[in-house]
Amino acid sequence: AQTVTQSQPEMSVQEAETVTLSCTYDTSESDYYLFWYKQPPSRQMILVIRQEAYKQQNATENRFSVNFQKAAKSFSLKISDSQLGDAAMYFCALRLQGAQKLVFGQGTRLTINP
């Protein structure tokens, strides 16, 4: 079975600063996808960034980037130049190649201090 662990229930950062959210996972498979989703108070899960396990290059989307360490089974999210609109719950998720369901971590609540 696959598991995803987010060890930081809450994080806070000053506006314009950089913050890193941690995620570790466990799977015996070698082909999979990793995701970070953002969930604001509106409840809607919004895809932030996606990483294919076969790609060594870390994914980047504007101010969001990941540090993917496959051997360590680690997938952290770095948010640069934090903005007030980044405040939300952030969930790390794993999906095996050819499988359907996403396996989610417990989430990290990110607060941005003005």
Partner: protein
């Protein structure tokens, strides 16, 4: 284009009543998923539909839970004889085959 929509947004019911939750996926998406999110928790997979294939029901917590989908359109999640532990946000997502899942805003279910 329009995203995934869900209705109702909120539902309050009494213990023992049946409820139906609705999901309208993104047009053209072949796959549809239901997840449950208990307060302060991550999402738990419930059920998955892909085209006309048999659904993957492996995440349904009990036989009180069922879901239907007609073709590649609307899906309904039904919870019979609701219990207080069923209180949660129920999220629907859709995707093109195994591609990225896009989520709706969820239905918050409260069982009194």
């Amino acid at each position: 284009g329009a995203g995934v929509s869900q209705s109702p947004s909120n539902k309050v019911t009494e213990k023992g009543k049946d409820v139906e939750l609705r999901c309208d996926p993104i047009s053209g998406h072949t796959a549809l998923y239901w997840y449950r999110q208990r307060l302060g928790q991550g999402l738990e997979f419930l059920i998955y539909f892909q085209g006309n294939s048999a659904p993957d029901k492996s995440g349904l917590p009990s036989d009180r839970f069922s879901a239907e989908r007609t073709g590649e359109s609307v899906s309904t999640l039904t919870i019979q004889r609701t219990q207080q532990e069923d209180s949660a946000v129920y999220l629907c997502a859709s995707s093109w085959r195994f591609d990225t899942q896009y989520f709706g805003p969820g239905t918050r279910l409260t069982v009194l």
